[in-house]
Symmetry: C2
Subunit: 350 residues, 2 copies
């Protein structure tokens, strides 16, 4: 491996070192791909930085990189993890991650946090979080891309997930806060969606978005320790009842509820058993393959929609016409349909 291409070896919070490097220097896609496949974390971090870049030449290179690595992807268990702020997602991820590396597995943690674009903060920006896991050589933690629309962030996270798979990670865990649209985006890119709740019971559901419960393949009631254990048990029963009232996502799996204490490291083995059992059933029934194919197709259509709208806003031939027509439509001088038709005629090939 050429040291001039991969000059640093970063552990833990990979992005900081990567960012300070500024992405300079030429990129040899074949070499980068080989290094990623060999499990080189710096190469992986650089690959993800390439994916996150908005520069058109970087985007080209990122797609070339993915094209080379694509056949090496798809081996990991893809898990989504969501929950309201304060439920203990970071602590739980750290506990589960350490449990898995203890079992000899390699885990990559990616975060989606579209709110960070607004607040300037990030889900993982606080570096004191996941300190232990960040030092673990069999774990890779990557914070959310720090800007962009949810669609853009989701695309980059999906592609980062593929790179992690090519790098040989056994588990990719994608973490998000369950308060916006991001949890749907996450559910659309993973095999299994895990909802983390605290022992608040039904009251707590008020704090998260309606409908998120329907996405869950597994509900974990965290903080099931000490004084909160009885409340956690009651909440688990309540959630179980609620889940049974909903239409299951798959005919092969009824969502389950587990207790955990991330703080004490309890319940992790049971949770991992459940994940493995789920993945196995989904594989055996062909559901996993079908679900991944559906997800990829939906993603393609989404990219098409976004690409078209982006072109419309930035294309030289339509930009000024769009502005003029928006004025005419707002003033009632042109119908929206006629305006749309004239823009489409400018934009689309015959």
């Amino acid at each position: 491996m050429d040291a001039s291409v991969f000059p640093e070896y970063a552990t833990g919070m990979e992005k900081t070192a990567e960012k300070s490097r500024g992405g300079r220097g030429p990129v040899n896609i074949e070499e980068m791909a080989a290094a990623i496949r060999a499990g080189n974390r710096t190469a992986l971090a650089r690959g993800i930085t390439l994916i996150e870049s908005t520069r058109p030449d970087h985007q080209e290179q990122a797609q070339a990189l993915l094209a080379v690595l694509l056949e090496k992807t798809g081996k990991a268990v893809r898990i989504g993890l969501s929950g309201a702020p304060g439920v203990g997602k970071s602590t739980f991820t750290e506990a589960l991650g350490s449990y898995l590396t203890g079992q000899g597995l390699k885990i990559a943690v990616l975060a989606i946090d579209p709110s960070s674009a607004r607040t300037g903060g990030s889900i993982l920006g606080d570096k004191t979080r996941m300190e232990e896991l960040a030092r673990d050589p069999n774990a890779f933690i990557r914070p959310s891309p720090s800007s962009g629309t949810l669609g853009g962030v989701a695309r980059r996270t999906r592609e980062a997930m593929l790179l992690c798979e090519a790098a040989g990670f056994d588990v990719v865990l994608i973490e998000t806060v369950g308060v916006g649209q991001s949890e749907t985006a996450v559910a659309d890119m993973v095999d299994m969606f895990v909802l983390l709740l605290s022992p608040g019971g039904g009251d707590e559901l008020q704090g998260i978005k309606r409908g998120i419960m329907e996405l869950a393949d597994l509900v974990v009631v965290n903080k099931a320790d000490g004084d909160l254990l009885p409340a956690a048990k009651r909440a688990a029963i309540e959630y179980k009842t609620a889940l049974h009232l909903m239409r299951p996502k798959s005919q092969h799996w009824l969502p389950e509820v587990r207790l955990a204490s991330a703080l004490k490291g309890e319940g992790l083995a049971e949770i991992w058993d459940t994940v493995c059992r789920y993945e196995e059933i989904m594989k055996e029934t062909g559901t996993l393959e079908a679900q991944r194919a559906d997800q990829a197709l939906a993603w393609m259509w989404n990219e098409l929609r976004e690409g078209m709208m982006e072109t419309l806003r930035t294309h030289q031939g339509t930009k000024s016409r769009l502005k003029a027509l928006e004025g005419e439509v707002a003033a009632g001088k042109t119908t929206p349909t006629a305006a749309a038709r004239s823009l489409l005629a400018l934009l689309l090939r015959d």
Copy 2:
């Protein structure tokens, strides 16, 4: 007026006569526009049929017709009416419509019912409904387009509304069932959104879609007669409280609650007074103009999105490539992003 262009004079359920005609014969847009402006109902019905047609030449003609008539639009009070099945929408519409024609006003009733595409039925398919109003020469009733996506149905209803305005109707009432996405589509094309509820109180809200209450500028509790009057009064108080807890749509208007008995024709004058007061406040504060401009712009963007997706599916240059790429993406042989890029390159002008 040339009798060969407008051979029939239809009243009431305008579409049946129109349909049996099959839209044959050349269309002279200028003549049709003049006839619509003169208030000729057959011309209006034919114009709407043109708008509803999926034939490209008809669509061209429909846009030409709208372009000619556009400056004559915008004078009507645009009302949306929604409510769960069984709440008495048709009876209420008939009662309010008859009240308005009795006041010397002309009212057009359009329906959006995307479910009719699936069930084969239509909101107004049962011709025994609105029998009286259908015979009223100052009323015009048009059932929902009988097929298409919600987006398509909504576009056609918006454009039919414009034709009704050009034909001199003082009120356009757009009716929909409040169980799907259609009520949002309706709220996006009218000045005032009226939610019709029966005296069931909070329980009844279970039957309609969550969030529909937030759309309402006016809630009407129907069936406020006989035994149900006390329950209707209680429900009205309950709805008033609920409305006050929500963030109002406009700083100039707090949603109101009125009682009505469509059966006995009671409460209609108060409801109409409320509508007029609303329209006046919205006009005086400039809110109406701004809202209509926003609606038209949102509609244009929606047309753009739909037009692009439609082109992608039907365009000769992309159709077969799309099929091939969908296969590759589903099989994990191409990334969704790469597939989308290659399709966009085929589709969009440089």
